[in-house]
């Protein structure tokens, strides 16, 4: 293999790439723009910003002490943004997507919930109107509301007028009951009698301190994000820039494959093949220029992310470079594969666009793979993008050392070798 033709091929391909302003914009500017957008979505709340609140409409048709307490608790909840429209208005808000969930507290809810609290009444239904496209928010609202309902009902039942009336009404009924087993009757009378004494004790002291407190969550949560270190916050831009850079370098390489088909159509390949240059040199030249362009796309994207969004390589710099180079080589050989298997530029462009989109989607470049079903997560291990994205994540925000780069590098080089072999054996060398 002689180096003058090889270097000439690389230089020519770089000149061609940079002479096409559209290619340069698509390859460098577009991934940065899209990654910035995705990064801002998936980064989560920063220290200086509040989390997005879930819009909830609460329709209080009961207007009892309990329902008012539920409403008040919801209004001060930091996760909810509560409005209080009428039922018709609430339905309209949910239907038009302006509110994720509407909660309807029906008339009689407070009284029924109080009765049900001690287990002897029918449980009342809390109405939920929800936007079916926002199931996740429905689940969150359901959980948050459970806490506020339990707190409001228990507070009222253990310290409020409704609880006092309930005990005064229930105690004589139990005492006069003839159907209840004697043992159970005695225990209930003792319990409600104690509750009545609790109600009737004079204000002040320890009783006053606990007055009007309902059931609260019996625990708090200590959350620790497992990032590169205890003081290092998760930076969603690291993932989004990895995903988008890989997507667009694959597009760029697919385009180089299509350009090779166009070169054949334009007779340029005849000129190349008539020169005393080996097939290995021709393919290597294409692969080398493709790998260089891919590497530039990746490094420019990450450079931007580092400067603007403070993405850092918390793992191994060597590992990061290794994965970047392996990814670039894999993408370049993917371009050769396109040139080898494509029948015409037009069909190759369509098929490869689909192939690249599938690879980046399954590889977790758009959304993390953990949201996929288990079988799909296993399946995506055969997608090179998955290894590239996971490897770059490991070297950036996860802060895993060089050991975390070895497997991704080996797998990506394995894919590159497979693509190269197929391309070299299937390439149409004969020019007719």
């Amino acid at each position: 293999m002689t180096f003058i033709p090889l270097l000439a091929m690389v230089r020519k391909d770089l000149q061609l790439f940079f002479s096409d302003r559209r290619s340069v914009i698509v390859s460098f500017v577009v991934p940065i723009a899209i990654a910035s957008f995705f990064g801002s979505i998936f980064s989560g709340p920063s220290n200086s910003s509040e989390p997005a609140r879930i819009a909830v409409a609460v329709v209080d048709q009961d207007a009892s002490l309990i329902s008012k307490a539920i409403l008040a608790g919801s209004q001060v909840d930091k996760n909810l943004k509560v409005t209080t429209p009428t039922e018709d208005e609430a339905r309209s808000l949910v239907k038009t997507g302006k509110t994720a969930v509407a909660v309807i507290i029906p008339k009689g809810f407070g009284e029924a919930a109080g009765s049900a609290f001690f287990g002897d009444g029918e449980k009342p239904a809390l109405g939920f109107l929800y936007d079916p496209s926002r199931n996740v928010e429905l689940a969150m609202v359901r959980g948050i509301l459970t806490q506020h309902v339990m707190e409001a009902v228990s507070k009222e039942m253990f310290g409020g007028d409704q609880g006092r009336q309930m005990v005064e009404k229930t105690l004589p009924q139990i005492q006069s009951s003839t159907s209840m087993p004697a043992n159970q009757k005695r225990l209930l009378i003792e319990m409600l009698g104690s509750v009545q004494k609790f109600y009737n004790q004079p204000a002040g002291g320890a009783a006053a301190a606990t007055e009007r407190r309902g059931i609260t969550m019996p625990y708090t949560v200590h959350e620790e994000a497992m990032t590169a270190g205890s003081n290092i916050a998760y930076n969603g831009y690291a993932h989004s820039f990895a995903g988008m850079a890989i997507q667009f370098l694959l597009f760029a390489m697919a385009n180089i494959g299509v350009e090779m088909l166009l070169e054949r159509q334009r007779g340029l390949w005849s000129r190349l093949r008539s020169a005393p240059v080996s097939k290995l040199t021709l393919l290597s030249g294409k692969a080398a220029s493709g790998a260089l362009i891919s590497l530039m796309i990746l490094l420019v994207s990450f450079g931007f992310a580092m400067v603007v969004f403070k993405v850092r390589i918390h793992g191994s710099v060597l590992g990061f470079l290794g994965i970047s180079i392996a990814c670039a080589v894999m993408a370049a050989t993917f371009g050769l594969l396109v040139a080898a298997l494509g029948n015409s530029p037009a069909t190759a462009r369509g098929v490869t666009t689909l192939a690249v989109l599938m690879m980046v989607m399954l590889g977790g470049a758009w959304v993390p793979t953990f949201i996929f079903p288990a079988w799909l997560q296993q399946f995506t291990l055969v997608v090179p993008v998955r290894w590239a994205v996971d490897g770059l994540d490991a070297m950036t925000w996860r802060g895993i050392g060089l050991s975390g780069a070895i497997m991704p590098v080996l797998v990506l080089i394995g894919f590159a070798a497979a693509f190269w072999t197929i391309a070299a054996t299937r390439f149409r060398w004969e020019e007719t």
């Binding site: 000439a8 230089r11 002479s19 334009r266 007779g267 000129r271 008539s274």
Partner: protein, 247 residues
């Protein structure tokens, strides 16, 4: 200088070239004529190394040409039928690339570029993008690209397709200059008047075979002309290949 011996190539059931043999001597131009599908381009492709023959040999000064990297390929230049140029690049960038394929570099490459452009009259537009060139200028540049490494043998596959008379005439002048320099030229075309003007010998192919090989006079003597005069090359060609349409 260039000897073709018993070349054969088929694509599936179609035999494109069958037992084709001829020679091109130093300082001469051989016109390769034939209707569409006669096998001219496949023959040129085998000589240039683009297609591997099933049988037969291509010899340069008696030595068999073999393999992609055979140094003897440096002695052959190809001017393909298509405008095999990168429109997006400048003329200089194109020629630097094509020259480097023959391991030319540095001052030698610059000299080769200057010489080739001088020959085809494009030396003053070397920094322009190819896309700004007219069709005729691109044809001349296509010729220059095939000459960069100063080949002894030049294969020209319909090099004047779609050019104006001025550019065509300029290309003819270039080819005559190359002949005087001792180059061996193999020229395929459909234009009879080009062969009449340029060719020292003419090879006529049809259905993949050589059906006639002679000088212009020799071919004309095979067919009686109108009114007892010399037959035109076109009438000779039609007599040899028939008048049925070839698509």
């Amino acid at each position: 200088m260039l000897t073709i011996q018993h070349l054969r190539k088929s694509f599936g059931p179609l035999v494109a070239v069958d037992d084709v043999s001829f020679r091109v001597e130093r300082g001469t131009l051989v016109g390769l004529l034939g209707p569409n599908g006669a096998g001219k381009t496949t023959t040129v492709s085998m000589i240039a190394g683009l297609v591997t023959p099933e049988k037969g040999e291509v010899m340069v000064d008696g030595a068999r040409l073999s393999g992609d990297t055979d140094p003897k390929k440096r002695r052959i230049g190809l001017v393909p039928q298509d405008l095999a140029l990168y429109d997006e690049l400048t003329v200089r960038a194109n020629l630097r690339f094509f020259g480097a394929l023959y391991s030319l570099s540095g001052a030698a490459l610059d000299k080769a570029i200057a010489g080739a452009l001088e020959l085809v009259g494009l030396a003053d537009r070397v920094n322009d993008r190819v896309s700004t060139y007219s069709g005729g200028m691109k044809r001349r540049l296509n010729l220059a690209a095939g000459l960069l490494h100063d080949p002894d043998i030049l294969l020209l596959d319909e090099p004047t397709v779609g050019v104006d008379p001025q550019s065509r005439n300029a290309i003819f002048d270039n080819l005559e200059t190359l002949k005087r320099r001792g180059k061996a030229l193999l020229y395929t075309t459909h234009y009879m008047e080009e062969v009449e003007r340029l060719a020292d010998r003419i090879v006529v192919m049809d259905h993949g075979k050589v059906i006639a090989e002679d000088t212009l006079d020799g071919l004309q003597s095979r067919v009686a002309g109108v009114g007892g005069g010399k037959a035109t090359l076109e009438s000779v060609f039609l007599t040899l290949t028939g008048r049925s349409l070839r698509d």
